[in-house]
């Protein structure tokens, strides 16, 4: 199917959920509401976008946008090399999306990364735990209201000393 026809078909079928369609540097961007992301992506996958090239998130705290958080899906059609970006918007008070792990296994770790760094939860994810930060980490550091230098995590360690009798080198050198 021709790319333009596909876009028209998607916008017609999900006319309530598509917020906007834009173009950036030759790539089409589909802006949609968060709750319908699974249906839209399922249809796009069945139309040839087999490959989830990337899944990431944006915090629009001071940038504007339809809602506070955006989750971005980069799709690739290996058959003809076409690319499509889908941006799903979710509100601040309920940062929650359906998981697309059932469509692409690769979304497993990428959704865990988004959860770890942005605190966005994914319904239906098989194992939504932190992937980068330590398990006991508090907060979600890529949110724009999280301080860059953190909340004291990097100072919170026991001090290991040498367990020898005297500290000769420390005092004399």
């Amino acid at each position: 199917m021709l790319f333009q026809n596909l876009i028209t078909k998607v916008t017609e079928r999900f006319s309530d959920s598509i917020l906007d369609t834009t173009e950036f540097r030759g790539e089409t961007v589909l802006h949609i509401k968060g709750e319908c992301v699974l249906e839209v992506l399922e249809m796009l996958k069945s139309e040839g976008f087999h490959f989830l090239a990337d899944l990431t998130a944006v915090d629009n705290l001071e940038m504007g946008g339809f809602e506070r958080y955006t989750v971005v899906y980069h799709l690739l059609n290996h058959g003809n090399g076409e690319r499509l970006v889908v941006k799903a918007y979710i509100p601040e008070n309920n940062p929650n999306l359906p998981s697309v792990e059932s469509l692409w296994r690769t979304a497993d770790w990428q959704e865990r990364e988004v959860y770890d760094l942005f605190g966005i939860t994914f319904d239906g994810h098989p194992n939504l735990i932190r992937i980068m930060n330590p398990d006991d980490f508090k907060g979600h550091p890529l949110r724009k209201d999280y301080p860059r230098i953190g909340k004291g995590e990097r100072k919170d360690f026991p001090i290991v000393e040498r367990n020898i009798g005297t500290k000769f080198r420390r005092s004399e050198s």
Binding site: M132, N133, P134, F137, P141, Y146, P147, R148, I149, G150, K151, E153, R154, K155, D156, F157, P158, I159, V160, E161, R162, N163, I164, G165, T166, F168, R169, R170, E172, S173
Partner: protein, 163 residues
Amino acid sequence: MDRRGIKSNFLTTTVESAINWSRKNSLWPMPFGTACCGVELMAVLAARSDIARFGAEAIRFSPRQSDLLIVAGRITIKMMPVLQRIYEQMPEPKWVISMGACASSGGVFDTYSVIQGIDQFIPVDIYVPGCPPRPEGILDGLMKLQKLIEKEKISDYSHPHSN
């Protein structure tokens, strides 16, 4: 004293300086390379710089077999407990070189996850500046460490509860 019984070729020294001499000339490094500095550390081992000239070429990837910890790279909040465990696993006597800006101060990575200087949490003997330090810098740090080892006293290593 009757010298006829003594063969030629001997020298006198103290046990302390003999021990320090052998320690400083046979350091066995444990490389803790977590970033780009680790790659530069490999260059120090290679033919051009050849750390073997200083007796420190026996790189051990087991802390139990080494006495010099070279921290080469950024240490994150997730890595710090690992580094501390590795340090504690090394038997005495042991020394630590903090290699590069990141290990010594966090470097340009002033973020929530990067430790701003490992010396806050483990003892450090030598800091090598640079981003990354040139191999010459690391060799210079190693020679400075050898000078420190030369001055050590055996009594420093007495058991903490014995005095």
